[in-house]
């Protein structure tokens, strides 16, 4: 089947309908989210780039297989984030069972964004030591809180979208974010990050 050339004008829903006939359209649709999904996985899992590539390939296949499960009352982005979230959580559990560590670290800008969400960060830049301590505190956060905070403050999703991605009620999402911020504040206090 020959691809239509004006697919750039097509919205996600139109591409989904086309993808049901030809998987190439699904590739086009996924290319719209590939970068966002990559950083999302990176932020919640700290997996290496190679691992993320494998995970996203599996996500693509699983999402294509379950394309008819997609409900048009959702945003496609929320749905594909959900599929990705589920796959990453499975992988993290698997690695925890096999006692494999997590590999990478949060980007500097992510650490700053996290801190800004939880405390008043007046200084523009952080000292090296302060940055290291803050990153450790963030990485210590349990995944459920960290992920909710990542979706809210780094991925800039609204509560409705986070609810659809994590498959939790709105109240529960709000609680996760509030508790995450509280824990992070406490952790930062404990490690005496007075450089902030």
């Amino acid at each position: 089947m020959k691809l239509e050339h004006n697919f750039i004008d097509k919205n996600d829903f139109e591409l989904i309908e086309l993808a049901k006939q030809d998987s190439e359209y699904f590739g086009i649709l996924m290319s719209r989210y590939q970068e966002k999904l990559f950083w999302y996985v990176k932020r919640i899992s700290y997996f290496t780039n190679e691992d993320i590539e494998d995970i996203l390939q599996e996500v693509l296949i699983k999402a294509y297989r379950n394309l008819n499960e997609f409900d048009a009352s959702f945003k496609f982005s929320s749905w594909i984030y959900r599929v990705t979230h589920n796959r990453v959580v499975d992988e993290i559990r698997k690695r925890k069972r096999q006692k494999e560590g997590l590999f990478d670290e949060l980007k500097e800008s992510d650490v700053e964004a996290f801190l800004r969400s939880s405390i008043d960060l007046e200084q523009k830049t952080l000292s090296k030591d302060c940055f290291k301590k803050a990153r450790e505190a963030i990485e210590k956060l349990p995944l459920k809180y960290r992920e909710a905070m990542i979706l809210r403050f780094l991925e800039e999703k609204n509560y409705e979208e986070i609810m659809d991605i994590l498959e939790r009620p709105k109240g529960s999402v709000a609680t996760l974010i509030a508790r995450g911020k509280k824990i992070l504040k406490r952790e930062l206090k404990q490690v005496r990050i007075d450089c902030l």
């Binding site: 190439e24 590539e53 996203l56 294509y64 609810m163």
Partner: protein, 255 residues
């Protein structure tokens, strides 16, 4: 910049590889009716678990209402002892289990996660209570309990029924159906068939209190408070009550 380009290339790679695999393995989107069926199944399971919760409530209410709560207190048991003996633990555990299952079933439906825990819990408890009340007032709870007694092996061992309560001759509680009546040494004796411990001779004397609607006729079901005599199947009656109903304080009504 170089890292960024390399990452982008890798990402394009995953799409390319993924699409190749889809084509090679001829993967196709699963039919939408399968997802609809799956969703329907979770809603059905949710409804069923609410119904099971209703059945649990109706039967445990029946079991609680059927028992004579005063009798253990009269025998000198503490409130805690009475509670532990008589409370239908089995059905309480079942009720809790079905409530958890109901919640899980609802969470598996397509938009089940939208509902707040408090709301879901309220709906589950409310639904179970409503169905329990319907079954209770329609009298179906008694029939259901009977069906379980007849069809589930060991069920009678996990519940404390009125029959259990009134089949404890050592504690002075006995019940059964009057098989025959006779007179032995100027005492009236009833031959009583107890559902758990077989046939008993019930000795009635002038001090025996016979309550309410008790007629002491063959085929009648009665409850007897008294004490077991030396002879293992002999029982001296101090009070006789009708099997059904609360009975009245009419002394020696049937004498």
């Amino acid at each position: 910049m170089l890292i960024r380009i390399s990452t982008k290339n890798k990402m394009k790679n995953f799409i390319k590889k993924g699409l190749e695999k889809i084509k090679k393995e001829k993967i196709e989107p699963t039919a939408s009716w399968k997802f609809s069926l799956q969703n329907f199944f979770w809603w059905l399971a949710f409804s069923f678990s609410i119904l099971a919760g209703g059945v649990s409530i109706s039967i445990l209410t029946f079991l609680i209402a059927e028992l004579d709560w005063q009798i253990y207190a009269n025998l000198g048991n503490s409130s805690l002892e009475t509670f532990l003996i008589m409370f239908p633990h089995f059905w309480i555990i079942f009720l809790g289990l079905f409530m958890v299952i109901s919640y899980q079933n609802l969470r598996h439906t397509r938009k089940g996660y939208h509902y707040e825990v408090v709301l879901v819990t309220a709906v589950i408890i409310g639904g179970s209570l409503f169905l329990g009340a319907v079954l209770y007032f329609s009298g179906l709870n008694q029939k259901l309990n009977q069906i379980f007694l007849e069809s589930i092996p060991g069920y009678e061992n996990v519940i404390h029924t009125k029959e259990d309560q009134w089949s404890q001759p050592k504690k002075g509680l006995l019940s059964g159906e009057i098989v025959s009546k006779k007179t032995v040494e100027e005492s009236q004796v009833l031959i009583l068939k107890n559902i758990k411990s077989g046939t008993w001779k019930i000795f009635i004397n002038d001090n025996t209190q016979v309550r309410g609607r008790v007629r002491l006729e063959e085929g009648e079901k009665i409850k007897v408070i008294g004490r077991q005599k030396k002879e293992k199947s002999d029982f001296e009656a101090m009070e006789i009550r009708p099997w059904e109903g609360m009975g009245h304080n009419r002394k020696n009504d049937n004498k």
